[in-house]
């Protein structure tokens, strides 16, 4: 490991200039590496969006939104139950969280919190493998086959709506049939999941000619079950959709607006 051969007084070999041949070899090795990477990439994700996908979920088509009325919500938990039944989540895993807030307004209100499906979603930006991404309609979705379970998205989500499968879910669904039956397959152990806005219903609606927000089979389960119509869903670009109508004449807020995430879930303030 001596740097200088003291007997012969030769210079260390690395000080010798690189031959052109060696340089060309090095370059071609680099090039081959890049080609191999590209091939791998093509093999695994020919169907995928371009690499430098921007994090914006802004779209041309319908702008799906949910409007939750803090005035009318009675805190009955039915949206929580229906969500758990429909999406088949484990007992302690709620995609839709209900918390009573007694401090903010003159009267106590119930705040339910699904995924906000942000237009600038921090989770989409931070995922190292693009397992969470914006669908073409702008909703934030998960690819459970790609997720490595690093949970950086959970660190980054400002709303704490993401849940991790800490173990295999083998228990029967804790909700009775009355609240609904599973419509999506269970997720495996070790991946992150979250509210999908019942995108499986939205996708089926397009095929069956149903209108999300109007037809029960094409609307998120939490909105369908609400006994007091405190949750409305629909295309916010359509002024006559249930969601747009609910916003009319009311003061609406989004959570943590200062972060600029542009959530798709709006809350109507109590009157």
């Amino acid at each position: 490991m001596t740097e200088m051969n003291t007997k012969t007084g030769e210079q260390p070999t690395y000080l010798r200039r690189m031959h052109r041949r060696e340089f060309v070899k090095l370059l071609s090795a680099l090039g081959l590496g890049l080609v191999a990477e590209q091939l791998l990439e093509d093999t695994f994700m020919a169907h995928d969006a371009p690499i430098a996908q921007a994090s914006t979920g802004d779209t041309k088509g319908p702008y799906w939104g949910m409007v939750i009325d803090l005035e009318t919500c009675i805190g009955c938990h039915r949206c929580v139950y229906a969500c758990q039944a429909t999406n088949d989540t484990a007992s302690e895993h709620l995609w839709n969280i209900l918390i009573e807030d007694q401090a903010t307004f003159a009267k106590p209100v119930f705040v339910t919190r699904p995924c906000m499906h942000c237009e600038h979603a921090p989770c989409v930006d931070v995922c190292p493998v693009r397992a969470t991404y914006h669908r073409e309609d702008g909703l934030v979705a998960m690819d459970y086959d790609r997720c490595i379970g690093c949970r950086y998205c959970m660190v980054a989500c400002p709303y704490g709506v993401r849940v991790f499968n800490w173990q295999e879910n083998v228990e029967p669904n804790p909700q009775p049939e009355a609240w609904g039956s599973p419509e999506v397959p269970r997720r495996p152990r070790g991946v992150v999941e979250k509210c999908t806005f019942c995108s499986h219903r939205l996708d089926a609606a397009a095929e069956r000619g149903l209108r999300p927000g109007y037809d029960r089979a094409a609307t998120p389960a939490c909105c369908v079950i609400c006994p007091v119509q405190a949750r409305q869903f629909g295309d916010l670009r359509d002024p006559n959709s249930p969601a747009s109508l609910a916003l009319k004449g009311r003061q609406a807020i989004v959570l943590r607006a200062n972060l600029g995430t542009k959530p798709r879930v709006f809350y109507l303030l109590p009157r």
Partner: protein, 406 residues
């Protein structure tokens, strides 16, 4: 036969055998994690990162001596730093091995560890870190490879040894690559936290700078510490005494630069109100983190450690150097712990409603401690074996006359 080995090399092999106990505990704990899933940890949806991330961040920070000392030795003309750079490279290789073992435990689908290389997400700090760390790990492997093939074991494979010599010719190029990759990922590990806008205690532009400056100080000091311990145990000299003092002084100076930055970063929130940030600064400096922040990280692991590192040369005191570098190591671990834990202890408020949710508690479970213990013990064993058998770390017997300095 066995008796004779024990008689001549007894203490070393007993030490190795002793290390097998924590390694066994670690393997058993890791088996629990891989078979039952992360449910055996105390992590939760509200505190998704914990002890493993702290160990991972600490390992990488303590390995920063590899790139900084290699750069000084091979690129900035400090030829007398070459012996300590050699030690640093080995420490670095082991540190990154430990970090990657932590990550493998931490991710929920370890069999998909390769996804980052195939499914690029160039927006993600963690993707950048993944690429850099794996690339830098291969640089470290190339740097250590020539030393490994010098073992008598490889005398039969001349072509391997020739390959080693050829690779060693590229030491300066490897040093450049190592420096570039390290400057990127040592900072972007801080950036991984720094970009998280949703968590006030993390969201600060200073994070990448704080991470790299502290890592360079701690990495250098840790290399000095390891060298001192090895020299004392082997009773041989690997690195000249004055080089150790010099590196200690450089590390101490960088540590003080870091402390200055950290001081303002942590207390600026008290001068005016920034939502979330001011609360987290208060929690760090006066709340539950008061002791680990002021006592462990700033005073002992910072001011005292830096003073010892700098004063040791003038006092010509190896003891002081050892204390200083040891405290620096403790300080960097405290810093990574405080940074990680503070982020999840501060409740995630979703203003304008639910501004005051209950705070989260997280303490690592026994399984988490077990795996961490196993990883540290495994690295210690590998380090012991390397220092004992690799010809590059043979050293020479100390001479009573002080060798000429720089």
């Amino acid at each position: 036969m066995v008796e004779r080995i024990l008689k001549t090399r007894g203490i070393f092999w007993m030490w190795c055998a002793l290390l097998l106990i924590p390694i066994g505990i670690g393997l058993y704990s890791a088996l629990q994690v891989f078979t039952k899933g992360l449910v055996v940890t105390n992590l939760s949806d509200l505190a998704p990162w914990g002890l493993w991330i702290v160990v991972d961040l600490s390992c990488i920070a303590l390995s920063a001596g590899a790139f900084s000392l290699s750069a000084l030795a091979h690129l900035f003309g400090r030829d007398n730093f070459k012996p300590i750079a050699r030690v640093a490279v080995f420490v670095g290789l082991l540190g990154y091995t430990g970090a990657m073992m932590c990550l493998l435990l931490d991710i929920g689908r370890p069999e998909r560890f390769w996804h980052g290389w195939v499914f690029w997400q160039t927006h993600s700090m963690l993707w950048e870190v993944t690429m850099c760390i794996t690339l830098y790990f291969s640089v470290l492997l190339l740097e250590v490879f020539p030393m490994i093939v010098e073992l008598p074991l490889f005398n039969r494979f001349k072509w391997l040894q020739n390959l080693g010599h050829r690779i060693h010719r590229f030491a300066p190029i490897l040093a450049i690559m190592g420096m570039g990759l390290s400057l990127l990922h040592q900072s972007s590990l801080g950036g991984t936290y720094g970009v998280v806008a949703g968590r006030a205690s993390l969201y600060r532009a200073t994070m990448p700078l704080l991470f790299i400056v502290s890592a360079v100080a701690a990495g250098m000091a840790f290399t000095v510490q390891m060298t001192l311990i090895v020299q004392w145990l082997k009773r041989r000299v690997l690195v000249p005494r004055d080089v150790l003092f010099q590196v200690g002084q450089v590390a101490g100076a960088i540590l003080f630069v870091y402390l200055y930055m950290r001081f303002w970063d942590s207390t600026a929130g008290a001068y005016g109100y920034v939502p979330g940030r001011s609360e987290s600064d208060l929690l760090l400096t006066t709340g539950t983190f008061g002791l680990t922040f002021w006592g462990w990280e700033i005073i002992l692991g910072g001011i005292v450690a830096g003073t010892f590192l700098i004063m040791a040369r003038r006092r010509n005191s190896i003891g002081m150097l050892l204390m200083g570098s040891g405290l620096t190591m403790a300080g960097i671990i405290a810093n990574r712990w405080n940074t990680t834990m503070l982020a999840f202890t501060q409740p995630l408020s979703t203003e304008p409603v639910l501004t005051n949710p209950a705070s989260v508690r997280y303490l690592p479970s026994l399984v988490e401690w077990g795996t961490a213990l196993g990883i540290v013990a495994g690295l210690t064993l590998a380090f012991s074996l390397g220092m004992r058998f690799l010809p590059a770390y043979k050293g020479h017997t100390p001479t009573p006359v002080a060798s000429s300095g720089d």
